[in-house]
Amino acid sequence: MAMKTPPLIHPLDKHLRLDRVPTMYCPGCGIGIALGAMFRALDRRFNEGLLDPNRIVWVGGIGCSARATLYVNYDAAHVLHGRAIPFALGVILANPNLQVIVIGGDGDIAGIGGNHLIHAAKRNIDMIVVMITNFVYAMTGGQVAPTTPVGVKTTTTPYGNPEPPINVVKVVTSLNANYVARASVTTPHYIESFFYKALGMKGFRFIEIVSTCPEVYGRHIGLRDPVDMYNELKKRVKYKQKPSIEESDISWDTGIVIGEFLERNNPSYLELLTGVRGK
């Protein structure tokens, strides 16, 4: 069958590899909402003339979230589970004129890739890391994830998860990152504005996006319907201006605080590298 270039219809179509749409995501999966919000932030930066679409590189590991890299109409790498951050580090150090965006699930970024996350933040490497937290290993069918709440029954914790989750925002904030924020797919405008801000900064920028996985996590917690899951998450999400790290723990019972936890302008790795070399 001869491939025609699909016409641009939706205002975000130019960001998409349209021949791969519809995506493989399940109906109502939050990842697409997050991606759309990020595209709108990119559009704003493009319109300001501050960013060149040809200099953007998306990097993802493996997982439903990382698979977003298959759909973006940019330079993109879909690499190994957990290794998106070191791959992205190589890209940015080899060509500092690029803007590197890492996207992945909490298993990819904070589980198997946790040590890379820590070290990239410690080094204040010039990259944006977007971690989609859906509380489960979705792609592999519903095993426990680093962010799964205590007590939740998953396919590998059939008696309930005995482990308290990692608060990844807290971990990254304790390091040398320049920006740490959390949004939710129920607040796409905050995803957009945090990502917009991150695009204008240097150094290591980390955005956690709390997401919905109605297909797998929804099954675990009895919220199989995308709208139910969305509404239950929305009920719990509270935006705060300048929230403190103390209130950053994610709790399905007491609520999920979103907002900008950290914003500063420490010298980035690239800045320090050129500084040292200049001497």
């Binding site: 219809i9 995506t23 909402i33 919000a37 709208v227």
Partner: protein, 89 residues
């Protein structure tokens, strides 16, 4: 609104309705019938249509278009880039 069913045959069929200020468009064959747009619309513009798309899903239709306030929440919350809102005139 006149909806041409034969348009469904082609991959980029649109359901589209407008009033004086806004037009709401649904790209029929991208919709996965998740219902999020219908749920987030503050003025209940959208309802599930009886149309069945190429993947067997029922996309929404802006049945109560006259109530649309152009907030774009449907567009921002659609995970599949299937619905968008345009300003008319």
């Amino acid at each position: 609104m006149v909806f041409n069913l034969s348009a469904l045959e082609e991959p980029y069929a649109l359901i589209s309705r407008e009033h004086g200020k806004f037009r709401v468009c649904i790209i029929v064959n991208r919709c996965k019938e998740c219902g999020l747009c219908i749920a987030v619309c503050p003025t209940k513009v959208l309802v599930k249509s009886s149309v069945i798309n190429a993947y067997g899903y029922h996309p929404p239709e802006p049945a109560n278009i006259e109530k649309c306030i152009g907030c774009r929440l449907c567009e921002y919350n659609c995970p599949d880039f299937a619905i968008f809102v345009e300003r008319v005139g």
